[in-house]
């Protein structure tokens, strides 16, 4: 078929059935601009049509939740009038097409979600996944993504405070770039996106509109991306952190002065999305004059202007009396503004160009009437096969050798090659910086602290989506608990393959179940999330990669929060929580030493999880060092403490396999004295001392040698 013969809706990525829905809804054939609007708003990326019916499984009911899923960001109450806003987003496909700009605009987008709520963004976290670094293209992607996050985040003036990184073959042609952002605000600054008040005006603030990423959301993020598929490549969006910085300051001033009724950022589907959502959410309509939009390039069609995904733009709903003041604040911050519409009684969103009507649709229909699919799901055939391949772990191990190999892994070795490219200190809040477990931030002027950890584990989730996803939640909970924070709210990013593959749907549904269950076990509300599907290239789906961003909260914050660099000569080492139980499925040992992936991850006891997490957060007020045991097991976790503290250790004799076992819900505690006061099971296993990592009968390695391997793992590969 030639392009001319392909119906417009198919070219825009819409099915025939969806097209029929549009004609039924309008009672007529859609105009071109209308079709463009529905095609993008009803795309997977904007409408969550394949996942929406399953997302209801997440529970967001806790008394401290102020805004749950549905708005631009979730908001929780921190007491004394303080609120925190958090959100996570993916920019996977754009980052494959152009890693630097793709990642940069991902940061820009997530920040807008935060300051749209009235909050000042104070932190970004990046959760990123690539193919093996042995391939040039993957190094290029990592380099570009990190420089993009750094280039945008640093310049916009929001610190990037941590993240995580994973490498696996199935991400080679489909890297994952998820970014989470956190903001804080005072209660009275909260702004929502529902436009109200007939006659109020819609003011477009920020960048001029150009032909950026037209159809990007629907086409890039909602269909499989074949390499070399030039047709689907939208023009790349270029981020402008300087414009965004001015926009943040201008918007915060507008909120401060109470000048906006509602506000919405422009993301996917640009003006059509922002106008229809503000109007639809408020039960209103809107008349939009497309000619009033300030443009970057001449000759754009109304459809292009409506769909453009130009970055760094916001739509504010303002009372007529306040328009002059809004425009003067915009001009003081040196950003452009134009009045492009007015709120009507509704329900229609009407768009005019040169005096003619180019679109008239029920405003709410773009969001509310989007299709919802209950796609078929099927338990994947690979499961029985991989469960049968139990990891082979010898009884006797040369710990020095094994540890050396693990420390040389780029996902286990020192990741400061990444985090030192990010400003992680701005605002003087960073009490525990990247390089520990969760990062800990103080809230100046209060005794409160917030901790954040992002976590994912695609291999374990592949082996058992439900258990793998649940364990991610518990791990991130422990990562914040070691700072003294109690797990308080979670955002999730569900990165999966093609939902039209029933096995992928099964992975998705199981993962949601595992995460939702784990969150309930530890009373953590899910306040927001993002779904990224169609992550596959050339027909292979990625490993299922749900990612969580956990916010922890403490009040008061410990005076001296645990840090990995606070171990001292003579301090005792305890392990608290579960006993090691032979959990090697998707372990670093199996992946690196055996070069295999098999077995079934252990299930987690919810009651034990609750107890260990609570005990850990309590111990954080007295112990100098707390570190959860995760990838690489006890040996890697102890080595990390040794490297940061500059002191070696001597362990009692332990079964060698226990050194690399990845049984969850275990935490290392280090401190003076010989007894530990805690209600959960614990065991003293050794002492920090000397300059050797001494594993008793399993062997030893000098601190310096081990640290050299660990420090060079990533830089050597990136050179």
């Amino acid at each position: 078929m030639t392009v001319q013969e392909t119906p417009a809706h198919i070219q825009l990525g819409m099915t025939d059935a969806e097209y029929t829905d549009v004609t039924d809804l309008l009672g007529r054939e859609p105009r071109p601009a209308e079709l463009a609007m529905y095609s993008v708003m009803w795309s997977e990326h904007c409408s969550y049509k394949s996942s929406r019916i399953h997302l209801g499984r997440f529970n967001s009911n806790q008394p401290w939740v102020v805004v749950g899923p549905g708005e631009n960001a979730g908001v929780v109450d921190l007491g004394d009038g303080w609120l925190a806003a958090l959100r996570i987003e993916s920019h996977n496909h754009p980052s494959f097409v152009e890693p630097h700009q793709g990642a940069a605009t991902g940061v820009g987008g997530i920040l807008r979600d935060i300051f749209t709520m009235g909050a000042r963004p104070i932190g970004v976290w990046d959760a990123i996944r690539f193919g093996p670094l042995e391939e040039t293209r993957n190094r290029y992607l990592l380099e570009g993504v990190v420089s993009g996050i750094a280039g945008y985040g640093n310049a916009v003036g929001v610190p990037t405070l941590g993240g995580e990184v994973e490498f696996a073959d199935r991400f080679s042609k489909n890297p994952l770039v998820n970014v989470m952002a956190l903001g804080i605000l005072r209660q009275d600054q909260l702004v929502l996106s529902a436009a109200s008040g007939e006659g109020n005006l819609a003011i477009l603030l920020g960048n001029a509109t150009g032909k950026d990423g037209i159809g990007g959301a629907s086409i890039l993020a909602s269909a499989s991306f074949e390499e070399g598929d030039e047709e689907k490549r939208p023009s790349v969006q270029v981020g402008d952190p300087f414009e965004e910085k001015k926009l943040i300051e201008a918007c915060l001033e507008l909120y401060d002065k109470g000048l906006v009724v509602a506000i919405q950022d422009l993301g996917a589907a640009g003006i059509s999305c922002a106008t229809s959502e503000t109007a639809g959410n408020g039960g209103m309509g809107m008349d939009v004059d497309i000619d009033a939009v300030h443009l970057r390039e001449p000759g754009m069609t109304p459809g292009e202007i409506l769909m453009s995904e130009s970055q760094e733009r916001m739509l504010a709903i303002v009372q007529p009396d306040n328009v002059d003041e809004v425009l003067s604040i915009a001009s003081r911050w040196e950003i452009d503004a134009s009045t492009i519409g007015n709120v009507t009684a509704g329900p229609a969103l009407r768009v005019y160009s040169q005096g003619t009507l180019v679109a008239e649709v029920p405003a709410a229909s773009l969001a509310d009437d989007a299709p919802k699919y209950d796609r078929p799901s099927l338990r994947p055939g690979y499961l029985d096969e991989v469960w049968g391949q139990e990891p082979q772990i010898p009884e006797d191990l040369d710990a020095a050798h094994v540890l050396g190999r693990l420390l040389d892994d780029p996902a286990i070795g020192d990741r400061s090659w990444i985090s030192s490219q990010y400003d992680h200190m701005l605002f003087l809040n960073t009490v525990v910086e990247p390089g520990h477990d969760g990062s800990l931030l103080r809230i100046k002027g209060t005794a409160k602290g917030m901790a954040v950890s992002t976590d994912g584990d695609s291999l374990r989730t592949y082996l058992d989506p439900r258990r793998g996803a649940a364990r991610i939640v518990f791990e991130s909970a422990l990562n914040v608990a070691v700072t003294g924070a109690r797990p308080y709210a979670l955002v999730d990013n569900l990165n999966f393959g093609n939902p039209e593959n029933p096995e992928v749907m099964w992975q998705l549904i199981e993962a949601i179940e595992g995460m939702a269950w784990a969150c309930e076990e530890i009373d953590v509300p899910v306040v927001g999330g993002n779904v990224s599907l169609y992550n596959q290239t050339d027909g292979t789906d990625i490993y299922p990669a749900p990612v969580v961003g956990m916010l922890g909260f403490c009040d008061p914050m410990p005076d001296q929060p645990p840090r990995l660099d606070r171990a001292e000569d003579g301090m005792s080492i305890w392990v608290i929580g579960q006993e090691p139980n032979g959990d090697f499925a998707a372990s670093a040992y199996d992946r690196i030493i055996n070069a295999s992936l098999g077995g079934r991850p252990l299930d987690v006891d919810g009651d034990m999880a609750r107890r260990v997490i609570a005990a850990t957060a309590t111990l954080a007020y007295e112990m100098p060092v707390l570190h959860d045991i995760s990838s690489g097991g006890l040996a890697v976790a102890l080595a990390e403490i040794a490297f940061k503290s500059g002191v070696g250790f001597t362990l009692d004799e332990l079964p060698h396999r226990d050194l690399f076992d990845e049984t969850p819900l275990r935490v290392i505690a280090v401190g003076p004295g010989h007894s530990l006061d805690t209600l959960v099971p614990h065991r003293r296993i050794g002492t920090f001392t000397g300059d050797v990592l001494d594993f008793s009968t399993a062997g030893s390695i000098s601190l310096d040698d081990a640290r050299t391997i660990w420090s060079n793992a990533l830089p050597n590969r990136m050179h």
């Binding site: 310049a155 003036g157 030192s420 990010y422």
Partner: protein, 230 residues
């Protein structure tokens, strides 16, 4: 009288700088770059950030902001003037300090604590420190690589006040994070009233943030302000 903290569009360390100035007893006031009057200021700080997005050249556009006429006027008197990171870059572009700052040698942004050695106490920034003192202060820049045409400094009358060093104070190539000529981390003009440095002393103002070594620099600045007033 207050310390004027100049805010350009894209500046982002103004609040952190204000916080540090307050900690040493100075009364900071944020001044927008389009203002034209610094008559109420007894000292001036140009904080870090990305003025005008660092587009064109870092500091290039900011130096023409209306407020810079006032900064130049005060710099020519005894008034203490300090540029931190981007502020240092602006002072160099404006020709108030010599040399220029270009991309780090490995073309990567660097955010990490570094150690610097006090080379001279002859400046508003180092007066209360001692020569040879080693301070642990975070660096946070992409264009922190100091270059000058002549050795050791472009303006014969500027002098080095801080150099990158290792933890025991030795100047080694490995301890020079960005490739700066002569390991220069900070300089001052001949009279010492204008100083600029790439590291961020305001980020090393409290031990809970990892280091309080930046405090002696702010204390120097505060003492210099009082000395001029007296």
């Amino acid at each position: 009288m207050t310390t004027a903290v100049i805010v350009f569009p894209g500046t982002n360390c103004e609040q952190d700088t204000e916080y540090a100035l307050n900690m040493v007893g100075l009364d900071a006031e944020l001044v927008w770059h389009r203002d034209t009057d610094l008559s109420g200021a007894d000292s001036v700080v140009l904080p870090g950030g990305f003025a005008h997005g660092d587009y064109l050249r870092t500091g290039a556009i900011a130096r023409f902001s209306p407020i810079m006429k006032e900064v130049e006027r005060l710099a020519a008197t005894d008034v203490p003037v300090l540029g931190i990171c981007n502020g240092f870059q602006v002072l160099c572009e404006a020709g108030i300090l010599g040399g220029a700052l270009v991309a780090n040698q490995d073309l990567k942004f660097i955010c990490k604590p570094v150690t610097v050695r006090v080379a001279s106490t002859d400046s508003v920034l180092t007066a209360a420190a001692t020569v040879g003192q080693v301070l642990r202060i975070p660096l946070n820049s992409y264009e922190g690589n100091y270059i000058t045409q002549d050795s050791p400094l472009q303006n014969g009358d500027d002098h080095v006040i801080l150099r990158y060093c290792d933890t025991d104070g030795s100047l080694t190539a490995a301890a020079n994070p960005n490739g700066s000529a002569h390991a220069i981390a900070g300089i001052a003009n001949s009279r010492g009233n204008v100083a600029g440095l790439m590291p961020h002393p305001e980020r090393a103002i409290e031990s809970i943030l990892g280091s309080a070594d930046g405090r002696v620099l702010f204390e120097s600045f505060a003492a210099s302000v009082s000395a001029v007033k007296a």
